[in-house]
């Protein structure tokens, strides 16, 4: 791995610290105090070594320029900006640093004209997808911003300019291969599939049944391939009900699909009706619950465009429940409003009312309570079918959150990756459209922070159950950073068929390669595995919190609050325990008097199996 450095590095050690510093995002949002001394050291070195950043393998410098960064927190700062094919990097003398992957840039605009008056009125205005905006000012004479604007525009939106996304240029190598994290067959086998009621089908091997579904599907044993084809004609975009998860004991299943094509005339489809009844039959429950994620008015309105919902009269043995979750446009506007009240400054007067008026947490509440209802039904032994309109936004949120509540495997570091790969990536959440990777059309109505919202829901759960998840907040932040960054192939494209066409797996690196090669950084020290428990978060506004450390992380005043003293203390104690155990062991080796042998024995058992000791002390909830 060649390390390219912009300007002469003379102290290798300093450069090394810098590497960490820069790659882990200058914000250094995690464990700030733990590495306080390291941070100070690195700040020092930044002073001595201005303008040095280590490039990723495959990353190339494009342009650098003297510029003024209009920092919303500390005012205008002079410095130098570097643009590579991956990032925008700004460095100024009094250690203000910006390190923005170009993928996080949503919009680049020119600010002011050659004749604009006022200080710093001529420059660039950059809107980011990660809850911040950047402003740069340049000298007015000589079209000084033209080149940088053109380059930024090209490289931030490569797909709009016939360029490749950075993920295809990256030469990064990792010990772990993240592409092997999710193997559908393995995952189904883990769930205990196939069973005598559920079979695995390869009908979609060539994406013929449904071009936005994965190739391997689990369907009722009783349903023939012919049945599946018939059903697919009655479901929006051919997204037929397929199994997502099965409860090991009661065999209740979560199925996901898109809306039925009922239309204005109220069409019926016998095959679809029978198919749903077969799902119900599979574990012998009397009633199948269909969760329509939408508000009922929207479901009704969808009839006008050929969609609709399962009518009570047509679907025997099924009950339909609307979950009142709004569509992608509402969510987009909601997050936009949230950004308005937190960036750059946190709204001061009536903060809570402002927060409420964004409705962001209200949406989180609705999504969570929908998922709770699904999980509760499954625990009660009833199978459920979940859909919204197309079954790739709200549906993915609901099924994956319900699975997170029901199945402790998904709460592990690896399991969570599997959950994302399965419910979101393979089942065709339209990441490319929702995020707009490499696309200049910032006003595209297809964009929406559905996945961000889902990660927020997961964060709310980790907050309520701080010991139930093996991964930590850092993982969630990393996922969201690379959701935009385009450094990894994981979140590129809308569905599996598109990924196949673009050879994502062979030509790009998976985000999980990065994560799993350094998995200890993403572990929650408080994790206490509990296999059998269903985790029901409390979906009340009383317990929902704004994810300050993500949404307001650019604000230096808020950032201070992020360190977890509890974690720090815990780690200290763990270290202390290990040290004492070691000391005890040493003492026992030197101590041979018969009198103390009894003591030694008791502590030896401690020393030999500290984990056992914990288990002994810990009693499951």
């Amino acid at each position: 791995m060649a390390r390219a450095v912009f300007s002469s590095p003379n102290a290798a050690a300093a450069a090394n610290i810098l590497v960490n510093f820069a790659v882990l995002h200058i914000a250094t949002w995690s464990r700030k105090s733990q590495f306080n001394s390291a941070l100070i050291a690195s700040r020092e070195s930044l002073k001595m070594e201005p303008l040095a950043v280590t490039l990723l393998p495959g990353e190339e410098r494009v342009i650098d320029k003297d510029i003024m960064y209009i920092c919303p927190f500390s005012g205008p700062v002079k410095g130098k900006v570097f643009i590579t094919n991956y990032r925008l990097y700004f460095k100024s003398d009094p250690s203000v640093t910006l390190n923005v992957p170009l993928g996080a840039i949503g919009r680049v605009e020119k600010m002011g004209g050659a004749s604009s008056r006022g200080e710093n009125s001529y420059g660039l205005d950059i809107t980011c997808k990660d809850m911040r905006n950047l402003r740069f000012a340049l000298k007015q004479e000589g079209h000084s911003r033209r080149d940088i604007f053109d380059i930024l525009f090209r490289y931030a939106f490569p797909l709009s300019h016939g360029l490749l996304l950075f993920a295809y240029l990256s030469q990064e190598k990792y010990e772990e291969n993240g592409w092997s994290v999710y193997k559908p067959m393995e995952e189904f086998r883990r769930q205990g599939l196939p069973t005598d009621k559920w079979r695995i089908t390869f009908i979609n091997d060539n994406y013929e049944l449904c071009d936005t579904y994965p190739t391997i599907l689990v369907v009722p044993f009783k349903a023939t391939e012919e049945d599946l084809r018939k059903v697919s004609t009655f479901r929006s975009r051919g997204r037929i009900p397929v199994l997502s998860w099965i409860h090991r004991e009661n065999q209740a299943v979560i199925c996901r699909c898109s809306q039925p094509l009922v239309g204005m005339s109220g069409k019926r489809n016998k095959d679809d009706e029978r198919y749903l009844d077969v799902i119900r039959e599979a574990n012998g429950t009397a009633k199948l619950t269909i969760y329509d994620a939408r508000p009922s008015v929207n479901a009704v309105a969808n009839k006008a465009t050929g969609g609709g919902y399962e009518g009570d009269d047509t679907y025997q043995n099924a009950e339909l429940v609307f979950l009142d979750i709004h569509n992608i446009h509402v969510m987009r506007e909601s997050l936009k409003k949230l950004k308005d009240i937190v960036y750059p400054n946190v709204e001061e007067s009536h903060w809570l009312s402002s927060l409420e008026s964004t409705h962001w947490l209200e949406h989180i509440k609705l999504v969570l309570s929908g998922a709770i209802q699904v999980a509760d039904k499954i625990s009660g032994g009833n199978s459920v079918v979940v859909h919204c309109s197309d079954g790739w936004d709200r549906t993915a949120q609901l099924t994956s959150l319900a699975m997170l509540m029901l199945d402790s495997h998904y709460r592990t570091l690896r399991g969570f990756q599997v959950l994302l790969e399965k419910e979101w990536i393979s089942f065709g959440h339209k990441f490319a459209s929702r995020i707009g990777h490499g696309d200049k059309n910032h006003a595209d109505q297809d964009r929406s922070p559905i996945f961000v919202q889902f990660i927020d829901c997961v964060w709310q759960m980790t907050k309520q159950f701080p010991t139930a998840f093996e991964f930590n907040e850092r993982l969630l932040m990393t996922i969201l950073d690379h959701l935009f960054s385009c450094r990894f192939g994981t979140f590129l494209y809308n569905c599996e068929s598109a990924r196949d066409t673009n050879e994502v797996r062979s030509k790009t690196v998976s985000l999980w390669s990065l994560v799993n090669s350094d998995s200890t950084s993403y572990l929650n020290p408080f994790y206490t595995p509990e296999s059998s428990r269903v985790l029901y978060p409390v979906a009340s506004m009383r317990h929902l919190e704004l994810w300050v450390t993500y949404y307001i992380r650019w604000n230096p005043r808020i950032r201070q609050q992020q360190q977890s003293p509890v974690e720090q203390r815990y780690m200290e104690l763990l270290a202390l325990r290990d040290e004492y155990l070691k000391k005890l062991e040493e003492l026992q080796l030197t101590d041979s008097s018969p009198n103390s042998s009894h003591l030694s024995n008791s502590s030896a058992s401690n020393a030999a199996s500290p984990t056992q000791h914990i288990n002994h002390l810990h009693t499951p909830f």
């Binding site: 903060w351 203390r569 104690l573 002390l617």
Partner: protein, 796 residues
Amino acid sequence: MRMFDGRVLLKQVILLFWPLISTWVQGAEKIDSCQLQVLEMLSSLGSAGGKSAKPSFVSYVTPEEIKSEKEPSRKEKHPDLLPGEVVFCSASTVLKYTQDDLSQRGVFGVLLCTNFRVSFVSDEEPTEEMGQLFKNKLYGENDIPLSCVDNIYGGSEDKRKLITGGLVKNKYPSKMIIHCKDLRVFQFSLSFSKEEDAKKIFQGIVHHCLEPKSLRCLFAFSYCENTSYPEAQRKKQTVMFDSVEDWTQDMKRTKGNCRVVSENSNFELSPKLPQYFIVPKNVSDEDLTKYQGKGLPMWCWSHHSGCALFKTASIPLVQEDNVPQTYMEKMLTAVAHNHLYSVKTEDLSDTLPTVQDILLSYNKFKQFFLIDNTTEFWMSDMKWFSSLDNCGWLDIIRQCLQKAVEVVESLEKENTNVLIMEEGGSDLCCVVSSLVQLMLDPYYRTLLGFQSLVQKEWVAGGHAFLDRSNHLHLKDKVESQSPVFLLFLECVWQLQQQHGPAFQFSETYLTVLSDSVHVPVFTTFLFNNDGHRDSLLRAESPHTQRSPLNCPTVWDWSVQFDCKAQDLFTNPLYTEKPKQDTSVRKSYRPRHLRQLSLPSSAFKTPPKKGFFKDEADNLKKILGVKRLSRWMLSPSSDSPQTSSSVREFYEAWQTKPLDYHGLLLPCLDGPSIRVWMQRYLRWIHDVQILGGGPVAMLSKVSEILGEVQELQRQLDRHGCTLTSNHKGARPRAKTAAAVIAARSSVRLSSSFPFVTSRNWAFKPAIPTSLLQSLMVTGMPGNLADREDDGGPESLV
């Protein structure tokens, strides 16, 4: 066997005569709920052992039998009475509704009213006492100390009426709802009791809880007469500030240079002045009593730079009268001359809410948590943030913290003396001065230090606890009621939330302390000032002319909790300051970490208005202004200047490495000021996070702490000396064991340790009334109605 047969028979009778019974029941609300109640009774009958004859049940069938059968059993139904506790009245067959659901189910039992509490004793066999780790020795989960009763409502059918005492005789509601000051809600149905009993208990409770009474009637007096607490025991724990030594000690500790006044030790100067207090050296004896202590600068705390914090009750304005001005001038000079720094005055009445504002805001705020039923709760959920905002409680907390930060800034950065004042000098002055000391002085963040701080600033400082809580329900004191002390605890909680490891005491400790204010046993909270306490305790003493009545203070925690429960008062995140540094702390050196290393500008005369240099002519010039209020007016807190200066101060502090044993400042941004979940949500079933909440994490810390301690003991036995830098991590041994014990017996929840969830079905709370149609309207371009992905053409 006969018992059992009898019960079966009764069951059959009930079923046979069901229609009859249901109409016969007095004040029956709905047939459905009645059915449920009786069915509930039947089931409890089936499950109970043969011991009790269930008078509650018999009463339906043959009311005449009640007397003969009830008398013997009634005695058993008493709670364990405390020394000096007397039962006033009681009623059996009272139904206590299960709080957490709508089904109108409940438990039958006896409702009693004593001189200490309202108590409900269930007819059912007490369930396994597994979760009783955190049992309060004075009152149980179904007891309400009389002073803890906040409001009583009478309910009939769907209506609810506030009972204000002095009711029409012979009337009583079928349902009695009691809201407690610790936010519990009890609902009792009286429709199954005998009319006579029901009337008596209702009127008894209303009388004893709501009507004016004399201080002597408070339970503390009869309790203390019948118990004895060795004085020595409490002395050694908390500094009580009831002696010259305590004050001298504290002044020495902080290197103060003032004068301890002991002339009031028998309240000769004024019963309103504290027994002992500290004033600037230049204050003469005759100055002490000039305005009944008003305007007298009382020393609170000295900063290591030599400047100090003083508080005073402001002198009411008398127009054109020059005397108070001259006096104040003299006092300010005294404050300034003692030290070589300037004086800053802060009139808190001008910049902080009044005690009435505080009460009004809190009354709105507490309603969010006094939940009668879950539907109501979920209905209010969607508007939670704006309701919270509108009640203004969090904002009041923020204002107090901000004011404290401003004072800290003056002391720490500008090294000026600060004199805070307000009308009485013992409400917001106490809040702000205690907060300032908590932020600046790590000693007050230890458990004993904190208790001493409360003693110093609040108890000895003369906060009118009695008037502010209005335990006596005196009509003329209604105006003076205000939860000022609670406001202080709220502010402390905010600090503690933000800087957990800096505090030796836990959140639970603060919650319990806030509850204890309403337990009328402790002298701490029963009086308005030292003189008041002294005269009453003397008057009530059984040994006249000898020692005053010896009552426990709230700091005698063993009165309420056993040792194990008390372990939950300590914070497992807290580490003591490493040994070698503690010696340094004593002689506060300016280069101590917690001090912001500020350039010499700190010692320049601050350019701000409102500061008084110690040059006499300058002072005189400013004091020459006619109206007192104007020159006392310091830069108001809402001027943008001040808040931006506070922000800069915070930001400068924030960039320094955080030292938990140094200066602490709170972040005051919107998201950082939060609701004290443990205190306010602990009783609301629907928001319990079962198996979760912060306790899940903290208990793991406690676990490992226990292990480390065990290892330390083993190493100690080996005679191994541990390296000194680890001594700091040496925790208090008890903490861990308690939480581990707790974990093994009950399921932890976010309400730990107040509610143990052993009884609750593991069913998720699914919010009702999810429809939020309001938000859809007014959406630009009606986005809510749009399709996710394009129009109809994409739906081919």
